[in-house]
């Protein structure tokens, strides 16, 4: 009976999250449409400045672009185009935004996932090793190294990656690692000092057994939440890294769009990245709750 109620509650929570994501997506789309519509130079074409064009031809061009349409009509057309997968056209690259996103998203996704994998392995491995060895030298050296990495701008890490010819995912891992390591280490240390862990140590359990059986289950829900946050960190780091390493991903696309003031492109890239981030965060949160429920 209790199990059924638990799973119903979990299902409801999942549905609520999904509804929230849909509402947020709709709000984001409307905000994006507003930004695009009111951006300076919206709908202006070079052809309008050509003195060979007569006034009535320019007017006909504007009518064709729908510049005289009211805002509700603009929103309606924007949403209906979006429903058909049409995200508009990039002003600077003169290509459909949807096509650009389809080409670039896998490149960034691949770099981010591999970079996150390396960063998580390194951070979790080093934090666990520190917990098991508990030596001051290890502690001091890792803290100093972590502090140094935290003090480097991601663009400098990207320059170093270009110089050393390392892959993009390695640079992402270097940027994400220190943020993860500090948090994971604090979390594990806090869990290690819980009374039940002390009792297990007093009973003579080995360090690895304590870590696997008592510390990790306690730290798992916040670690899963951190997994969602780490996606946002790595996507943020992808901008300077892809821009400077000349990797054809979403980060480079966003940078090029910002430099050429291509609002339809940058707004849609940000919208897609934001929805991916929110979905990842919601999934991580749900997984954390499910794990906490199962351990209780």
């Amino acid at each position: 009976m209790i199990e059924t109620r638990k799973s119903t509650n979990f299902f409801r929570l999942g549905l609520r999250r999904l509804l929230f994501l849909v509402c947020l997506g709709l709000g984001g789309v409307l905000a994006s449409a507003t930004l695009v519509r009111f951006a300076p130079g919206y709908g202006a074409e070079e052809r309008e400045l050509d003195p060979r064009w007569r006034a009535d031809s320019v007017e006909a061009l504007r009518q064709k672009q729908g510049l005289h349409r009211g805002l509700p009509s603009f929103y309606f057309h924007y949403l209906s185009a979006l429903a058909h997968g049409d995200l508009g056209e990039s002003d600077s690259l003169k290509r459909p935004v949807g096509e650009l996103l389809r080409r670039r998203l896998p490149v960034t996704g691949n770099s981010v996932i591999r970079g996150l994998g390396v960063a998580w392995l390194a951070a979790a491995g080093l934090a666990s090793l520190g917990l098991v060895t508990r030596g001051w030298w290890f502690e001091a050296s890792t803290t100093a190294f972590n502090s140094l990495l935290l003090s480097l701008p991601s663009a400098v890490v990207a320059m170093l990656a270009v110089h050393l010819r390392t892959p993009v995912f390695c640079a992402i891992a270097v940027v994400v690692f220190p943020r993860l390591y500090g948090y994971i280490r604090n979390l594990l240390v806090r869990s290690y000092h819980q009374p039940h862990v002390l009792a297990a140590r007093a009973r003579g359990l080995g360090s690895s057994a304590i870590l696997l059986r008592h510390v990790l289950p306690l730290a798992a829900p916040p670690l899963l939440a951190l997994f969602g946050v780490s996606f946002a960190i790595s996507f943020g780091a992808a901008i300077p890294i892809e821009a400077l390493c000349d990797s054809p991903g979403l980060g480079q696309l966003a940078w090029q769009a910002a430099l050429s003031r291509d609002l339809p492109l940058i707004v849609n890239v940000t919208l897609v990245v934001s929805l991916v981030m929110l979905a990842a965060n919601s999934l991580a949160d749900l997984a954390g709750r499910a794990f906490a429920g199962s351990t209780q």
Binding site: L35, P40, L148, N186, I233, L244, R261, S274
Partner: protein, 268 residues
């Protein structure tokens, strides 16, 4: 404070004094070109040499230090003020207003900050005078950087809301504005200071990233980001290691802030 923290605080004080005295220490104006000696090695006239355009590197470093160390605290002040105002009101009022503020904060925290900065920067003109580019960078970071402090401030204000002295103030007819300014804000002041100082290194790094990408402080005005941008070819740095000084200074300042301040667990 432990000895290491004292050392970090002293280093920060020394760098801030250097920044204040930069006007008197500048050997030459930062934009003046010595066209006959581009990429010069260090000499008595130019202690850190000159850059590719023949400008004195020491002058540019001193002035760039001033720009970065004024820009980041100014942006941190603006973002902390926004967070203090919204967080205190949300914590004090509670209810739907607090829920909306916290939901907006959670939403902003989940998004990659640099993408938001790029969207805002793309809506503004790029071909602007250097001083305007500094103001744009300051406003962008200040207006978009309030998310992290607001949660902490809101939680602290919620704690103050249920206190006896606030109940007494309410029962004696204190208005909400006076409650906020006379009772809540003074009690949260230490928290505001901490959040302000925590934001500074984050904004120093953000300014550096934006300037390296060509979207922050514009040339010829120097900033740490602009100066580091010149390192695009690391292979030349082996022959002229003194060009690394701006990066070393940036790293030292951010590390000193990290040592002096309470640890920030996850920063974007």
């Amino acid at each position: 404070m432990n000895p290491l923290q004292k050392l970090a605080a002293s280093a920060l004080c020394a760098i801030f004094v250097l920044m204040v005295l930069a006007t008197f220490l500048l050997p030459t104006p930062y934009a003046r070109q010595f066209r006959d000696i581009p990429n010069a090695d260090p000499s008595t006239a130019h202690p850190l040499g000159t850059d590719a355009l023949g400008r004195d590197s020491l002058s540019r470093l001193l002035y760039g230090t001033r720009v970065s160390l004024l820009l980041a605290p100014a942006a941190a002040l603006l973002s902390t003020m926004i967070a203090a105002l919204l967080g205190s009101i949300a914590g004090l009022l509670g209810g739907w207003f607090e829920r909306i503020v916290l939901a907006a904060t959670d939403l902003s925290l989940a998004l990659p900050w640099l993408f938001l900065l790029l969207v805002v920067r793309a809506t503004l003109p790029l071909d602007v005078p250097p001083f305007v580019s500094v103001v744009i960078a300051f406003l962008m970071m200040g207006l978009l950087g309030w998310q992290a402090p607001i949660r902490v401030i809101c939680a602290a204000a919620r704690g103050v809301r249920d206190s006896d002295y606030l109940l007494l103030a309410r029962s004696s007819g204190c208005r909400p504005a006076r409650l906020l300014l006379g009772h809540v804000a003074p009690n949260l002041r230490p928290l505001f200071y901490v959040q302000f100082f925590i934001s500074i290194p984050l904004f120093i790094l953000t300014e550096a990233n934006l300037s390296i990408l060509g979207l922050g402080v514009m040339e010829p005005m120097p900033s740490w980001g602009n100066l580091v941008r010149g390192f695009e070819d690391f292979s030349t740095l082996a022959a002229s290691p003194w060009r690394l000084v701006p990066l070393i200074l940036l790293v030292i300042v951010v590390m000193c802030f990290q040592l002096v301040l309470p640890s920030q667990e996850v920063t974007q």
